[in-house]
Symmetry: C2
DNA sequence: GCGCGACTTTGATCAGGATCAAACCGGGAC
DNA sequence: GTCCCGGTTTGATCCTGATCAAAGTCGCGC
């Protein structure tokens, strides 16, 4: 049985061609996307700033260029659940729909690349591989969302934290272009509260479980945000996931 | 603010044309799909029978014709989380991928219509609207999965049960081709255990909360499975969702 | 009818995480 | 430096839902 890992935090390929780590890669500029120049523009947001409210009329689709955004829903009484993290190269928007289903909020300083929706949709019909790429990305996102449902529905608080750390570790390694390994170090891109909203916990429980993992020697902390993973295998053993040796999905 | 409802349980349109309630509708037969005749075949399963195991090599894609199947994942220690229900017209399979990400199990007696994958993928490239339809369906599923994450991560047991009942009520009304209304009656298509697996609860909690809703007069029971909703509004008030009068999404 | 088995209900107790509360830490403005 | 403030940690207690256990219901085959 192979190990499953959520890919929601992985950096994806350019949605226009198979280049990793870029929303719109250099290689694309010479071909189809040049046609988009006139409908393409950039937006910048500060950490914490809302980008889109659920229900907003969307006159654009977009792609994250730098920074992190969260996708989340909030109930009337304030309970909120993060349903996804948007990382560089992730796509924002629904071709064919005119309102946004969820709130998008900048977690860090954020730059997105917007395309006016109508012309983008036209491009999709004339350039089939863009549609195919979007379908593939959407299928990946769907699998990730479903894998996260196991985390939310069935895992303990400790397993949830370990799962999140494992995902961030993996994502971070990908960004740095090497595979995850023992002794790796990274910064948590989220506050305790944001982690809680992602995991369906309270911030106090997140804090306690992180302390517990530290006391168990599963992780080491350098300040509040910097994490060291002495043994990846030990961390994986805490996730509740089926591990069979490697980080191969 | 409009009310959101999970659409995972809704009956979808034919993936080849915009006709409701049929996986492959009569209208489609004369055009593109006739070309598929030679690659199309049916499979039947009994209630409880596994259809696909996660990791299986998939040489086909398929569409549910009649019956209900569940999509779920199970941890090594037996904890399981249902991540979706597959209803008539729902699509099974991943064009471009060769192994199944989740287990599929027949919940009721089930008939699916299979298409050999290779020729289906070729059809997708030559018939763009099939790809577009698949993208739309996948986006809907993604939204549903994300909405369900709120249920799993943040709702109480009572809210979870009310949410599930509301969804089933809505789905059932759609099947019967009228809108949900006070006094409506339907059969639960799931055992208490399956509901628990869908909601991230134990079967005992499901049973207790159903009893509690009955005692509160939110629902009436006729036997174990048949449910009457005297007031849709009262049920909706128990879901924790933002309701503004109607069942309009 | 009887007995069996799958499913469901209900009860008693337990425990994991939420809640309420207070203190702590670190960085930036002044 | 000091103050302040957002983010974090830790403690005490509570409560929801899990767990363990037993009994009830229904349908079906014999």
């Amino acid at each position: 049985m192979k190990m499953k890992m959520d890919v929601a935090l992985d950096t994806k390929e350019c949605w226009n061609c198979p280049i990793k780590h870029q929303a719109v890669c250099a290689r694309c500029e010479p071909d189809e996307l040049t046609r988009l120049e006139e409908i393409k523009y950039y937006r910048n947001y500060d950490a914490g700033q809302p980008v889109i409210w659920a229900g907003d009329h969307m006159e654009f689709v977009a792609s994250v260029v730098t920074g992190i955004a969260s996708l989340s829903q909030t109930m009337e009484d304030g309970r909120t659940q993060m349903v996804g993290l948007l990382l560089p190269s992730d796509f924002i928007g629904r071709p064919g729909r005119d309102s946004a289903p969820f709130d998008v909020v900048a977690v860090s300083d954020l730059t997105i690349c917007c395309f006016r929706k109508k012309p983008f949709e036209e491009l999709m019909t004339t350039t089939p591989h863009i549609g195919q790429r979007l379908l593939e990305m959407t299928l990946d996102e769907l699998d990730s969302a479903r894998e996260w449902m196991l985390v939310l529905g069935r895992k303990t608080a400790r397993e949830k934290i370990a799962s999140l750390l494992a995902i961030i570790a993996r994502r971070d390694a990908t960004l740095k272009k090497h595979s995850p390994k023992d002794g790796m170090t990274f910064d948590l891109p989220l506050t305790r509260e944001a982690m809680a909203d992602y995991l369906g916990l309270t911030l106090e429980t997140v804090s306690r479980q992180i302390s517990a993992l530290r006391k168990s020697g599963i992780i080491e902390l350098d300040g509040k945000r910097r994490v060291v993973i002495p043994s990846l295998e030990k961390l994986m053993n805490e996730t509740g996931d089926d591990v069979d040796g490697g980080l191969i999905a």
